[in-house]
């Protein structure tokens, strides 16, 4: 009994220190992000976007959309991309062995014609490229049809091999971009052409919003609490987390849903890792690894606005699957680049960002769950003071609430994309719900994903369950207000 008591007391102290370090780090990230986001919001109107749009030397962008069984959303996505405010872009859709009508829909919509296109082998592709099609009308659409290669990364690499513009933008087929998204995202490349190699955009939740012709017409709250909780998560992750890491020079993730890179740089580092299921994280980690080793000055940054609106899982089952996949990808990538972790030669990435991802993002779920178990056990055995335990839990709960509310407030003070007052009340409700039950469930999924990475289970890329949230509202039945 005494060793157990000692162990539980020691573990409690460990959890307390862990919580304090994490809280301090979150506080720092929140302050840094707030400065940057508010600054960006106020700069609207003097950032010269109109000039950028009109300038003939604004770099061209190849928008690469990997699509596997995306019949529900592919046309809305294509229409949205082609109607973006950007002077020179090409849309590359990679049909990764779809078994539904994905290709047929695009073929009919853009009068596709097969061409004998020379596909370079700049980056490796597993699934054989079967054909390349372009729009007979001259619309800058190019479709690559290939055999399913098992991962999303394989489809992205096929797109890289046919891309012709200076910048490549990776976009999910269920995502819709804000009208000015590319103009804003390309600005860091234009302002610092020698330094910036990657730019991540903010991703927001499309569920519940009204879309028309591939454009967002009305941001609205989804009906289910699972989706609303994800709105809070995304705001916290993108507005606070990534913006702050970008400011610190330790941005490790550019979301696969919306990210831009220099084509030449991505090809130089070998494109995406076709074996990875967290290809976005892996690519950024590899860029840091290679570019640091080359002693070159480079920057990977995040812009807080405008955004890509993407469909998020609407059911617990699909959300669990997504989060396990993310956790597994994170663990695998951290293991792959383990020599960078804690290595001062990799600067902020090595000594701050990667240790943070290892200690808090990867192992945090284990600490959270074992902490809860230890607390329950301690309470059952009478080892832990009930009042003290409740107070510690209340501090953790209120701190988590504060962080989420800070993200909401930052959104409100800066971009305020959700116009209805009821929406604000709903997101505040989601903040409460997130910390009661969902958070613990999420920790359990993360543990499962990490364990799957340790066991080395195989995983194939399958398109997540779609509801067509980002498709035109008229088609999906959502009223356009």
């Amino acid at each position: 009994m005494i060793p157990l008591r000692g162990f539980l007391a020691g573990f409690d102290h460990f959890v307390l220190v862990y919580f304090l370090v994490l809280s301090g780090l979150y506080l720092l990230l929140t302050v840094l992000a707030s400065i940057d986001v508010l600054r960006a919001a106020r700069s609207a109107g003097v950032d010269g976007q109109d000039d950028l749009f009109a300038h003939p030397l604004t770099p061209g962008i190849s928008v690469i959309v990997p699509a596997r069984n995306e019949a529900l959303s592919i046309l809305a996505c294509a229409r949205g991309v082609l109607s973006l405010r950007y002077p020179e872009l090409e849309l590359i859709i990679v049909d990764d062995g779809s078994t539904d009508d994905t290709f047929a829909l695009v073929e009919a919509a853009y009068s596709l014609v097969e061409v004998r296109r020379f596909v370079a082998g700049d980056v490796p592709v597993v699934g054989t490229v079967r054909s390349v099609h372009v729009a007979r009308t001259g619309t800058p659409v190019l479709v690559v049809r290939k055999d399913h290669g098992g991962t999303r990364a394989d489809a992205l690499n096929a797109g890289l091999n046919v891309a012709t513009k200076t910048i490549v933008c990776f976009l999910d087929a269920d995502s819709v971009l804000d009208e000015r998204a590319l103009l804003s995202a390309v600005k860091p490349f234009v302002d610092d052409p020698e330094g910036v190699v990657g730019v991540g955009g903010v991703v927001r939740v499309a569920n519940g919003c009204a879309f028309e012709a591939g454009r967002l017409v009305s941001p609205e709250m989804p009906s289910s609490w699972i989706e609303r909780i994800q709105i809070v998560e995304y705001l916290r992750s993108f507005l606070l987390g990534r913006t702050a890491w970008s400011k610190l020079g330790g941005l490790m993730i550019i979301s696969g849903a919306f990210g831009l890179f220099r084509l030449e740089t991505v090809i130089d580092v070998g494109g995406f890792d076709v074996d990875s299921i967290a290809e976005d994280f892996e690519l950024v980690a590899r860029l840091h690894h290679r570019l640091r080793a080359g002693h070159g000055k480079y920057r990977i940054v995040c812009i807080p606005e405008p955004a890509a609106w993407t469909e998020v899982p609407a059911t617990l089952g699909s959300l669990a699957s997504q989060r396990k996949r993310w956790a597994r990808g994170l663990a695998e990538t951290l293991f792959k680049y383990r020599r960078m972790t804690g290595n001062p030669r990799h600067g902020v990435v090595g000594i701050v960002a990667l240790p943070y991802y290892l200690a808090f993002e990867c192992l945090g779920a284990f600490v959270e769950l074992t902490g809860s178990l230890a607390l329950s056990l301690g309470l059952a055995l009478g080892v832990v003071d009930v009042q003290l335990a409740l107070l510690v839990a209340a501090v953790a709960f209120s701190y988590a609430m504060l962080l989420s509310v800070a993200a909401l407030a930052l959104e409100e003070f800066s971009f305020h994309r959700y116009p209805r007052t009821a929406d604000l009340a709903k997101t505040l409700g989601a903040v409460l719900l997130e910390n009661v039950g969902f958070r613990q469930l999420h920790a359990w999924w993360r543990v499962q994903g990490t364990i799957a990475a340790i066991r080395g289970n195989t995983h194939a890329w399958e398109s997540p369950e779609r509801t067509g949230s980002s498709a035109d509202s008229a088609r999906s039945g959502t009223p356009v207000s």
Partner: protein
């Protein structure tokens, strides 16, 4: 006891902060909605008057009328805001009329003084207004802001100089571009130079000789975009003799845009495989743009380039060179060593697709 007390205080502080932020968010939302409504009401009342006045005023005698009979302070601000928004969309007499109006209301003088403000956005907005109005009296302040510590302000100042159409600002713009600290991006300076128009070409040509490599690159690109035919010879010289790859590539691009046949010789020489790939690609594109059939043989040879991007550029250029280019492509499809993949691709695009949407 102490730790319990500390934890209780922590819970109270954290909860108060969370509730405070929630309340603040709600209040900000309510205030913003109310302000937007007020502004909409004002602009809805004023916009028709301003537009009507703009449509009827005689620009030649510069009769500037006050669009509001007795404007209150907030009305006057709304009028200035509205006119400030219209200015970038106007040119010539219409812009001059609005500039005179803003001068008389004192808005431009206030903007000039605001360029000394401590707040970066106030400085940037003031420079933008002075630039949009092309108000020459604000030129010294705008030039001064080219050295501002804030990058957004420097960029706003550079854009303002371009809009003011002051060719005498070229040395300042290029100086700001070359500054080791607090420089301005090539894109912003390039746009400003383009706004200055063809009148600035002679000054730009002079800088081709002695400027640093990055400036030579920027100036060459700008001259090409201006279509400055008088720059053809200096650009050919730069293409042949420059010691750096980037200015040479920019010269090749510019010569393609200008379209003079005297550039064909230097461009063909730039197709040589010992030259950097980016230069070979630019030269091939330029030869396609110029459309001189004398380049056909050299472009056909370039289709066998080991770099597939160079080969593709050569094939696309041949497709743009009329029947001779097409014959060359068809011949190449028969022999793999002659660049068959690129030739097939170019022919397919030429036959099956209507002209691609291009800038």
């Amino acid at each position: 006891m102490e730790i319990r007390h500390l934890l209780t205080v922590s819970v109270l502080v954290l909860t108060t902060l969370a509730v405070g932020l929630s309340v603040a968010s709600t209040l900000v939302r309510a205030w913003r909605a109310s302000a937007a409504r007020r502004r909409d009401v004002q602009l809805t009342a004023i916009r028709p008057q301003v537009l009507e006045w703009l449509a009827t005023v005689d620009p030649h005698n510069r009769q500037v009328l006050d669009p509001t009979a007795r404007p209150g302070r907030s009305d006057a601000r709304s009028v200035e805001e509205l006119i400030g928004g219209l200015l970038p969309k106007l040119r010539g007499d219409d812009r001059a009329v609005l500039t005179t109006f803003l001068e008389r209301t004192g808005a431009l003088e206030r903007a000039r003084l605001r360029m000394y403000s401590r707040r970066r956005l106030v400085r940037a907005r003031a420079a933008t207004l002075v630039g949009a109005a092309a108000w020459r009296r604000g030129l010294p302040e705008v030039v001064w802001l080219l050295r501002d510590p804030d990058p957004e302000v420097r960029s706003a100042a550079a854009r303002a100089l371009g809009r003011m159409g002051a060719p005498d600002a070229i040395p300042y713009l290029l100086g700001a571009f070359e500054a080791p600290r607090h420089s301005i991006s090539a894109s912003v300076v390039g746009i400003a130079l383009l706004h200055l128009g063809p009148a600035s070409a002679p000054e730009l040509i002079r800088t081709l000789r002695a400027a640093p490599a990055a400036t030579r690159t920027l100036v060459a690109e700008t001259l090409g975009l201006m279509g400055a035919t008088q720059a053809s010879n200096p650009l050919c010289h730069q293409l042949r003799t420059d010691t750096e790859a980037e200015p040479r590539t920019a010269a090749a691009h510019a010569l393609g845009r200008i379209g003079g046949r005297d550039a064909v010789g230097p461009l063909v020489a730039a197709l040589d495989r010992r030259q950097p790939p980016a230069l070979r690609i630019a030269a091939a594109h330029a030869l396609g743009s110029i459309g001189d059939p004398t380049a056909i043989d050299d472009l056909a040879l370039t289709m066998t380039d080991p770099n597939h991007r160079v080969a593709r550029a050569a094939a696309r250029a041949l497709a743009a060179l009329g029947p001779g280019g097409r014959r060359s492509l068809e011949h190449a499809t028969t022999v793999i060593e002659l660049g068959r993949p690129s030739a097939l691709e170019a022919l397919d695009l030429s036959d099956r697709v209507r002209p691609m949407v291009a800038r």
